[in-house]
């Protein structure tokens, strides 16, 4: 099977078969990461541009490493010190970089839909590395890979995502991906940070963490952004932590071999206690490793996997 897509924009529009293909491919590539010489020639001669309109260390490093391990050439553009700050439009930046021979763009942007816009502007491939509050498909995929690796399956698992659901692209990508793969998705957060009509999505919604966590196989803890407090989404860090922080005591209610995940960066002591973050159930560093594997798989499937409808 091949991935017949020009772009990876979100998990909402992906089928279970496509997700399965990406996860299988990532699993087979993961072995490369443990080799003494981490280099394969699969994407030699391909140019990949990471275009980041929002700060990110881990996602960009992960994409760049993935590309470099596959022998692609990488260029990186970010908001500091480029034409972006001189007022050049997104469209013109894209066209300029494409004209330099870019084969694939990795785009992080604070505006939802920006990668979709880019995908219409350029003929080459676009991978969404997080667009506003919309989706972060590679994070969703790496989370699913981590779960599948540890549990051997996705189907039938209960996965709780806890925290600032409203502003979270991680939650949105995870809920589409997991529900397509047959998992039960639970969302829990303060009522102020649950988006409108969220109950219409294929999820169970909670505001009480103790009932939400009951019997779950996975807890995916979202980062709470302190600045949300300024807009009145919650009264204090202290109260947030009390009501929605993941503690060892709370984990007792979950399944006995629960996995604890976090997309990072973590606020230790706020949404997650250090003993949980460093504890036996945490697979947070596995997620990071799997992130590289998933991105390698995607780059291969889009650029090296033979049939590629968009760039043929």
């Amino acid at each position: 099977m091949q991935l017949r897509r020009k772009d990876i924009l979100g998990l909402q529009e992906m089928s279970a078969e496509e997700i399965g293909l990406i996860l299988d491919t990532a699993e087979s590539y993961k072995e490369i990461l443990s080799r003494p010489v981490k280099k394969v020639p699969i994407l030699r001669g391909k140019s990949i541009c990471t275009l980041f309109y929002e700060n990110s260390t881990r996602t960009r490093c992960s994409f760049e490493l993935a590309a470099k391990i596959m022998s692609a050439d990488t260029t990186s553009v970010s908001t500091g010190g480029s034409s972006i700050q001189k007022g050049e439009s997104f469209k013109d930046t894209l066209l300029t970089l494409e004209a330099m021979g870019t084969d694939l763009f990795v785009i992080r942007h604070s505006a939802a839909g920006a990668p979709h816009f880019a995908a219409r502007v350029v003929k080459c491939s676009v991978v969404n590395a997080g667009d506003g509050m919309h989706e972060h498909p590679t994070q969703g995929l790496l989370d699913m890979l981590t779960i599948r690796e540890n549990k051997g399956r996705l189907e039938g698992l209960k996965v709780l995502i806890v925290g600032d659901i409203m502003h979270s692209r991680v939650a949105r990508s995870n809920l589409w991906g997991l529900s397509k793969m047959g998992a039960e998705v639970r969302l829990c957060g303060p009522g102020t940070l649950l988006p409108a009509e969220v109950e219409k999505l294929p999820v169970r919604v909670f505001t009480d963490l103790d009932s939400a966590i009951e019997g779950v196989h996975v807890v995916n803890v979202l980062r709470i952004q302190i600045e949300r407090m300024d807009r009145g989404f919650f009264p204090s860090i202290r109260e947030y932590s009390t009501l929605f922080g993941i503690t060892k005591a709370r984990l007792q209610r979950a399944n006995s071999d629960v996995l604890v995940m976090h997309p990072g960066p973590m606020n230790r002591g706020i949404e997650i206690t250090p003993e949980v973050a460093d504890g036996e159930f945490a697979v947070i560093t596995d997620q990071v490793t799997n992130g590289v594997a998933v991105r390698m798989a995607l780059l291969y499937l889009l650029l090296g996997g033979g049939t590629n409808v968009g760039t043929a």
Partner: protein
């Protein structure tokens, strides 16, 4: 030019007329409306006096067409002065004529704002040379800043037909009350853009399942409804004529219905996009579907139609909001709000309201002629002897495909690109002159 519009279905909602008749126009006025009018002054004494010795009229066969008073769009953005790269008074007026409108009311969110006599006079003066009758609203507050009342009296004297806070909703209830009290002295309506901005900060689309899925920042219906209610209560207090602009929600329609039942002087408008589209039009991040207030849900569309049918919604306006390509060819979050509307309004009304039976021809046309004239106190919107010959001719059966490349407006920002609609404007006559539509075509008809 004397012209005899022969055999059309003459619809004049201002006096309940809807029948097959002829319309004779001459000297820029409607000379006569009636069955089988003579084409020249030859013949009877009656025809000689009708023509006042002017000879004969060119005859246009209007069989199968609707002949109605020129349409009035009481909500357009002509962008001049200040944004002539988006639209000018001249280009906007050409778009109006192409869309069947013989009169438009320009909103005051220009640069500089139309908040003083000089800018009002400029717009009025430019409007005199435009293809259709151009009226203008003055800004309710200085610089549209919502802080100090503008010189409303001076603007009215210069020709402003209303005041408005369109695009810059006055947030202070106290200031809005004073604007209403003050405007009331001059017998002009206050046109209110209803939006509580504390709830819409960064909002780009209706709040609901679609915004949740797309991760786009929400602009909740309550932000509009709270302000509609506030303004209704203030209008009751101030006793002025309040006109709510672009009503989009079921709750907004309910509020106006309540106000009318209480005898409060309130009227309102909606726009074709709010009974033709829902927020799902943004699913592909189409910036041309981004407008303010935003597109709502199917339940709102149904409530808007109900409000139109039961008379709660008085007026259909377009909120014609042209933008340059670079304003829209960007990320949705940063794209300008608004869509062009002048050249798609009639087909959308015909296709989505008249054809499915929501409104009769007469009722739909009333909301685009007599009703806006009444709200604004204009002596137009009627097709009667002695009235200015502002006439729109519509082919209710013509099929068309929306092609923005053919627009007369400088704006191409329509969410209706490629839509197949029924009902087209054939000709637009302003003060007795054809400002849109082909004479040749009409003469060919006459030979039949």
């Amino acid at each position: 030019m004397w012209a005899l519009l022969k055999g059309g279905r003459v619809v004049d909602p201002s006096r309940g007329l809807d029948e097959i008749a002829d319309v004779l126009i001459g000297g820029g006025r409607v000379v006569s409306v009636g069955p089988s009018l003579p084409a020249s002054d030859q013949g009877t004494q009656a025809s000689r006096s009708m023509y006042e010795g002017s000879g004969e009229a060119r005859v246009y066969d209007c069989t199968g067409l609707i002949v109605c008073p020129g349409l009035i769009d009481m909500h357009v953005h002509l962008r001049e002065p200040g944004f002539e790269h988006k639209e000018t008074i001249a280009s906007g007026a050409r778009a109006a004529a192409a869309g069947g409108f013989t009169a438009v009311v320009a909103m005051p969110n220009t640069r500089p704002a139309a908040d003083n006599r000089a800018v009002i006079e400029y717009v009025v003066e430019r409007g005199r040379r435009a293809a259709v009758n151009v009226f203008t609203a003055g800004a309710a507050t200085k610089g549209n800043e919502g802080a100090e009342m503008a010189e409303i009296g001076d603007m009215v004297e210069a020709g402003a037909v209303a005041v408005s806070d369109d695009g810059f909703p006055v947030q202070s209830a106290d200031l809005m009350r004073r604007v209403m009290e003050y405007a009331g002295m001059f017998d002009i309506p206050v046109l209110a853009h209803c939006e509580d901005q504390s709830m819409t900060r960064d909002g780009v689309m209706n709040e609901g399942i679609t915004s949740t899925i797309l991760g786009l920042r929400p602009w909740p219906r309550q932000a509009e409804e709270i302000m509609i209610w506030r303004n209704i209560l203030l209008a009751d207090l101030a006793g002025c004529a309040l006109h709510i602009q672009h009503v989009t929600t079921a709750g907004g329609v309910d509020a106006v219905r309540w106000a009318k039942s209480r005898g409060i002087r309130v009227t309102c408008e909606t726009c074709p996009q709010y009974f033709s589209l829902t927020d799902e039009a943004l699913t592909s991040f189409n910036t041309n579907a981004k407008c303010c207030p935003p597109l709502r849900t199917q339940a709102d569309v149904e409530a808007i139609k109900q409000g139109l049918a039961d008379g709660t919604i008085d007026v259909i306006a377009t909120d014609h909001a042209p933008h340059a390509q670079e304003d829209k060819d960007v990320e949705l979050q940063y794209a300008a709000f608004g869509m062009v509307g002048l050249e798609t309004a009639v087909p959308l009304v015909m296709t989505n309201l008249v054809k499915p039976g929501v409104l009769s021809f007469a009722d739909a046309l009333s909301k685009m002629t007599a009703a806006p004239a009444r709200v604004l106190g204009l002596d137009s919107g009627k097709l009667a002897e002695g009235a200015s010959a502002d006439i729109t001719i519509i082919d209710p059966e013509a099929d068309l495909v929306v092609r923005s490349s053919e627009f007369r407006s400088m704006g191409r920002n329509t969410p209706f690109e490629g839509f197949e609609l029924t009902g087209a404007v054939v000709a637009t006559i302003v003060q007795g002159e054809f400002r849109h539509g082909s004479l040749k075509c009409a003469e060919a008809r006459a030979k039949v």
